[in-house]
């Protein structure tokens, strides 16, 4: 850990991020996979601005020096995977996860906008989610990862061969939910189509059961990839089976009422099922299927 409190000399603050990166590279060259976490690069940029001012350099955007973007690029480009020199042949990597704290959550300010030019994954923390005490407050619509397709091959090989299609479905529901919410604000929830009402209900389950976590809960703090995939599967199963019924003309409200206990259980899985008792989630999926079979037979009759 490289620590630098805010009342220490400003030059040390600028240097601390380079010291961190250099140590990371040292371990990388020994063949380790290194995660470099820097909190926060905005304070580091603040130091650049401070020093530039004292050296009487010409200020650019918002008083930051004109070389802010190139310094950020130099830093982020130190991440990567390498074959090291020397014997035996080793693979090492440095992954950089830096926080940026834009004033007032304004992502157009220079440090954020320039950082976004050099990164391929972005987890924006959202003020309104944080105020609702939704943790982690990552905005799923603004955030992005350019590695989804690459990561999908890993998921498919190691965890669940349908990961990508489940992820895409969930993402589609969340995007659709956002559109629908704007309509609901204008015309109220009653005038929506049954299909859309179901989308709203399932998106709510995704947000509560899957996206929201409690860092202070022993079980919920860490969900293994296997558990995550199973949780996705419960939600996707629920959505697919419910869609079938909606297509046959069953109102969403009726489906949700008939499944109240199962939905509550889906929302609790994150607290109740440990990473090594995933068969419990399988049982839940079976229970969902059984319930829907029963409902479907009722519809036919």
């Amino acid at each position: 850990m490289i620590a630098n409190t805010s009342n220490m000399p400003v030059a040390a603050r600028e240097a601390s991020i380079y010291v961190g990166a250099t140590i990371a590279e040292y371990f990388r060259d020994q063949g380790y996979d290194v995660l470099l976490v820097a909190d926060s690069t905005s304070r580091w940029a603040e130091a650049l601005r401070d020093l530039a001012g004292r050296m009487e350099e010409m200020p650019a955007e918002e008083g930051f020096p004109s070389y802010l973007a190139s310094r950020l690029a130099e830093y982020y480009e130190r991440a990567g995977r390498v074959i090291t020199l020397g014997n035996p042949e080793r693979m090492g990597s440095v992954t950089i996860a830096s926080s940026v704290s834009p004033p007032g959550g304004d992502f157009t300010e220079p440090v954020t906008s320039n950082t976004l030019r050099f990164v391929r994954v972005f987890w924006p923390l959202d003020v309104s989610l944080a105020q609702q005490r939704h943790y982690p407050a990552i905005n799923w619509l603004q955030g992005f990862s350019a590695y989804v397709d690459l990561v999908a091959t890993w998921w498919h090989k190691n965890v669940d061969p349908e990961w990508k299609s489940m992820r895409d479905l969930m993402m589609r529901l969340l995007v659709r939910e956002d559109e629908l919410r704007q309509i609901v604000r204008l015309v109220g929830p009653e005038s929506l189509a049954e299909k859309d009402k179901l989308t709203l209900e399932v998106a709510r389950i995704i947000r509560i059961a899957f996206l929201q976590q409690n860092a202070f809960d022993d079980i919920d703090a860490f969900a293994s990839p296997q558990k995550q995939a199973k949780m996705m599967r419960t939600i996707v199963t629920f959505y697919n089976r419910a869609s079938e019924l909606v297509a046959k003309g069953v109102p969403t409200k009726k489906i949700m009422e008939a499944n109240q206990d199962l939905v509550a259980e889906m929302n609790r899985v994150k607290f109740t099922v440990k990473n090594d008792e995933l068969q419990k989630i399988d049982q839940l999926i079976q229970a969902i299927n059984a319930r829907f079979d029963q409902l479907a037979s009722g519809v036919k009759a």
Binding site: A3, T5, S6, N7, M8, V10, S40, S42, R43, E46, A47, R49, D50, L51, A52, G53, R54, E56, E57, M58, P59, E62, G63, S101, P103, G104, D106, Q131, Q132, R133, R185, L186, G188, E190
Partner: protein
């Protein structure tokens, strides 16, 4: 800073501009060295070296440069940094940052001289804050608790009653069980006279003055002396906390005035301006103030800081609140719409946050239900605000039964929990009980963050049953 130099006297002033005076031929002036200025008629002023280069010393004059003539004025470099005499006698007194009395009382005689820049705390010697301070204000104690050694700013807007809240906290704040060991250092930075008189009257009338030391500068004084105000106050706080084992709450009002003074001085020194014209080093400069809070291992006392600042145009992205938020451990945000509804203190609890709260509350510290109750109040109030937005569009009648309960809860929460009188000092138990009372408006099935046994123990419904039987 310990500079050991001799006293040197010069008289060749080459330029006077704004609060600055340039003295030529001074090769050995130390940065931030204290200076005495004696004018031809014998009157004396004081100043400080703010720049020293090319055989020139730039001196900032605390009392302003009006009336100083380049000829016939003697400038004495004192060979030491700015020191102020500090002692526990300052409790109950009102002084300028240079230690001169402003309350008509006698000068402070006893005491030791201390450099007002203080010594930075060794980060390894810091102790983690985890004891609760009771301010008697529900919105703070219940939902954004203040801990000993924390620095928690109040973000206010122009016209909002931050001065009332500051005075109320200064009067009420205490560490339970150690009331006699509690002191407040109150720095009034560049305040208006009427504000100053309000504070003075409030402290004297309520008797709080006995445990308050107030360091004040006024809006019409030169910027250089405003900049000294928080530093002198914190030097006194450090003495009381680490020499006299007291728990000190340092209230700094208003940091916006401080930053304006900093900008004014920076411009007069012809420095390159940063964002909004504020100097690029403002973050570093603010950190040297805010980081003078905390607890030190092996010492009994503590310094808790409550800086208060006014957000220009209520803009939280303005450099002053922005840089302050980087350094401090959370914030209390005052809200104009609550104020317009007539609610005092107008604290927007959803935007406010105390980052250290979790470590200082709960069983043995406040009460066992505090954490869960706070979470429940936050969640329910957030929902109430959401429902309010919905109701304004689709009308209250089309809301569900539960949502209408949330509307009632939202109003009760603001009127009974947040709102309180200027002289109303609520104990933490009272605060939590009011929290339970307003939550009881909601159906019990909505109280999902609370444990069933806590509901049995504290929910007004079961409490009254227990009393009846």
């Amino acid at each position: 800073m310990t500079v050991q130099l001799n006293i040197r006297e010069y008289s060749n002033i080459s330029m006077i501009k704004g609060p600055l005076m340039v003295v030529k031929g001074v090769g050995d002036a130390a940065y931030q060295e204290l200076v005495d200025i004696e004018m031809a008629d014998g009157t004396k002023r004081r100043g400080m070296v703010v720049d020293s280069y090319n055989d020139m010393a730039v001196v900032q004059v605390f009392e302003g440069t009006t009336g100083i003539s380049p000829t016939g004025t003697k400038v004495r470099f004192l060979g030491k940094g700015l020191e102020v005499k500090i002692s526990e006698e300052m409790l109950g007194r009102i002084m300028s940052p240079l230690g001169d009395p402003l309350d008509g009382g006698p000068p402070i005689i006893k005491g030791e001289k201390r450099d007002i820049n203080g010594d930075p705390m060794n980060p390894a010697m810091r102790d983690y804050p985890e004891e609760f301070i009771q301010t008697g204000v529900s919105a703070i104690d219940g939902l954004n608790s203040l801990l000993r050694g924390q620095k928690l700013p109040i973000f206010s807007g122009s016209g909002l009653p931050s001065n009332l809240l500051a005075a109320q906290i200064a009067r009420q704040a205490t560490v339970r069980g150690e009331e006699s060991n509690f002191a407040v250092v109150f720095a009034a930075i560049g305040v208006r006279y009427d504000e100053f008189l309000f504070f003075r009257k409030f402290f004297e009338e309520t008797g709080a003055i006995n445990r308050v030391a107030m360091i004040a500068t006024f809006a019409n004084q030169p910027p250089s002396i405003k900049i000294l105000t928080p530093r002198t106050a914190l030097t006194l706080a450090e003495y009381l906390a680490f020499e006299q084992d007291m728990h000190v709450l340092a209230i700094l009002i208003d940091m916006t005035n401080y930053c304006e003074a900093l900008r004014e001085l920076s411009a007069s020194k012809e420095e390159v301006p940063g964002r909004g014209g504020y100097p690029g080093y403002m973050y570093t400069d603010l950190a040297t103030i805010y980081e003078r809070a905390g607890k030190v291992k092996g010492k009994k006392g503590s310094i808790t800081q409550m800086p208060i600042l006014t957000m220009p145009n209520d803009d939280m992205t303005h450099p002053i609140p922005d840089l302050t938020g980087y350094i401090t451990e959370g914030q209390i945000v005052l809200d104009r719409s609550l104020y317009n509804k007539g609610i005092y203190p107008p604290i927007n609890v959803l935007m406010s946050l105390s980052r250290l709260m979790r470590d200082g509350i709960g069983a043995g510290k406040t009460r066992d239900d505090h954490k869960e109750l706070a979470n429940q109040l936050f969640a329910a109030y957030a929902r109430a605000v959401e429902v309010r937005g919905l109701a304004s569009i689709i009308g209250e009648d089309s809301l569900s039964e539960t949502d209408r309960k949330y509307l009632l809860f939202g109003d009760a929460f603001e009127r009974r929990f947040i709102q309180q009188g200027l002289n109303e000092n609520r104990s933490i138990e009272q605060t939590l009980d009011i929290g339970w009372e307003v939550l009881s408006i909601l159906p019990e099935s909505e109280l999902v963050q609370l444990k069933p046994e806590q509901i049995k123990k504290y929910h007004p419904k079961y409490k009254s049953q227990a009393q009846a039987s």
